[in-house]
Subunit: 382 residues, 2 copies
Amino acid sequence: MHGPMKGISVTLRFTPHLIAAVRTMSSTTVPPSPALLQPLNVPYRLLLGPGPSNVPPRIQAAGAQQVIGHMHPEMFQIMDDIKKGIQYAFQTQNPLTIAVSGSGHCAMETALFNVVEKGDVVLIGVKGIWGERAADIAERIGAEVHLLTKPPGEAFTLKDVEKGLSEHKPSLFFITHGESSSGVVQPLDGFGELCHRYNCLLLVDSVASLGGAPIFMDKQGIDILYSGSQKVLNAPPGTAPISFSEAASKKMFSRKTKPPSLYVDMSWLANYWGCDGKPRTYHHTGPITNFFTLREGLAILAEKELRLPTVTTVSVPVGYEWKDIITYLMKNHSIEITGGLGPSAGKVFRIGLMGYNSTQANVDRVLDALRDALKHCPKSKI
Amino acid sequence: MHGPMKGISVTLRFTPHLIAAVRTMSSTTVPPSPALLQPLNVPYRLLLGPGPSNVPPRIQAAGAQQVIGHMHPEMFQIMDDIKKGIQYAFQTQNPLTIAVSGSGHCAMETALFNVVEKGDVVLIGVKGIWGERAADIAERIGAEVHLLTKPPGEAFTLKDVEKGLSEHKPSLFFITHGESSSGVVQPLDGFGELCHRYNCLLLVDSVASLGGAPIFMDKQGIDILYSGSQKVLNAPPGTAPISFSEAASKKMFSRKTKPPSLYVDMSWLANYWGCDGKPRTYHHTGPITNFFTLREGLAILAEKELRLPTVTTVSVPVGYEWKDIITYLMKNHSIEITGGLGPSAGKVFRIGLMGYNSTQANVDRVLDALRDALKHCPKSKI
């Protein structure tokens, strides 16, 4: 049996040794920093700069989810959802559509590393910082880099580009869609067709523009398009959507040398993202919670666009009869709105704001009328 | 004034046009995927594989924080905290200590891309998948790669490595500390000294081992050490700690060519992480919420180690007198525990479990005794 004295004696006997041991450790090891014992300080900021933008509560909640394995079937489902979400956001049917495990800059490298080989001729449209960066990366690859420059604030014309294409005969032309450094949106119609006529691939950076300015990858003949997660998609930074056309894939997968990077080698990433029809094998551990948040950002985009901008549906407030309110509006405010139709019958109002009627004044008018109706129409106890 | 008929007629007049417009759009554009209209599905899984591991609630909460700008002072403070946390976890005083914006594989590339130039001789210890990957990357750089192989399940000896160093005269030797593919921990004592005797830098992959098996970067003479966020540090994947010794920095910053990648170019990243004494400039948008979660993972590590493993402090339960409980334990269970000391006096019990007394049975015994004391000691109304 253990007596109390024994416990005490053990403590006393060991303590000087322990103190000595800790002293010895302190002199040769690195102690933990007091800064890390302070709580995490994240002040609230309204982010109206060129990105990142604030994250909606639904995406914050996705970022707080427990992690699952990067090779679990549910993770692959989420990655498949992301692929479809990017296809929608990019307006493309390219099977080779993924999210890179890094920032928009990492996607820029992914594009150039995979499609450009040493000695390839590359034409870079420079009208701000992004073109400069693309040129820097292409030079690191050992490409023959030619610059097509415009003063910041101006956009390239088809004529500008055709001159560059005919002069240099590049295999790739890089251009920025949303030049966030100067605030210019580059028109893209006709550039794909033009490049293809010169046997050249069109690479477009849409980090700052995607979802905010219209882009149609397939229709506009863009061969490689990438963006970031932290702008219009409203997810935290850390992932970057990218898509490759058939022509880009062909150039990429028939190259003679390996790309400079294993981390963003598209032959590995295509498999990891289930794009090559083979069973997925381990490449790297994807940023799991960033995939959750990117998926939600893309889902919000999909849902938003499913809401017809011309007809707004509003749930019938609990306790009210929908017909009473519609009748009240017509009788007292001379406004027609309608009820639901088919599966939404009895559940919603449908308020149309189209063409000539689509004005701020009419929005205010119908809202005032609805407020009035809710005051005067009979309401059952809930 | 608008009459009701006007609203109706507008709606009727516009509707066929709208339907036609939507039909035209459908045939040329990509619709949103129904999969994205399903809710995000993240099942709970206990992750006892080689990583990622489950994320504690505190880190989940950090992942749900609203984002702030990547160049805000509070962000730089968090990055400074991360640097100090990594210095502690790695046991290094290297100023060039940062987290890469990518997975552990991205850190592997960061190490090799920055320290190895085309034509450099590199020796890679291969005893599983990680050595193979390192060799793949070094070959992409254009290095002269030599392999030192061991069957999976075995570790390298100093003798093995010395043979390789004297035969090939490499400028870099790569070795995996925790070989998660075979379950082997590579002993590291003496390897740094040996490499330096042969004018060779020592690069160690500790993605699967950091925090679980002891590692002392400075003491063991490791020149480049990297890990991942998702193993012992318990943060979601997406960031990777890395540190460079003075000798590694010297080789890195006196290279003749630029590293293959701009994204992980350490001359840029050193500035972004405030390691070069110059004002920080924009390089890329770091994964902001991953920095929050990594910071918390490192903070937990720092706090844990500040808790002396030999003496456990327990808060005195509200409503009890600490002295009653200590007296009760001694009188009825022959167990000594003590109260607080100095600033903790009256607030905590101190329970020592050291040397001979540090057994599972004694933990159970003191817990049973405390339960008994809480039942029988006087408790004031709270």
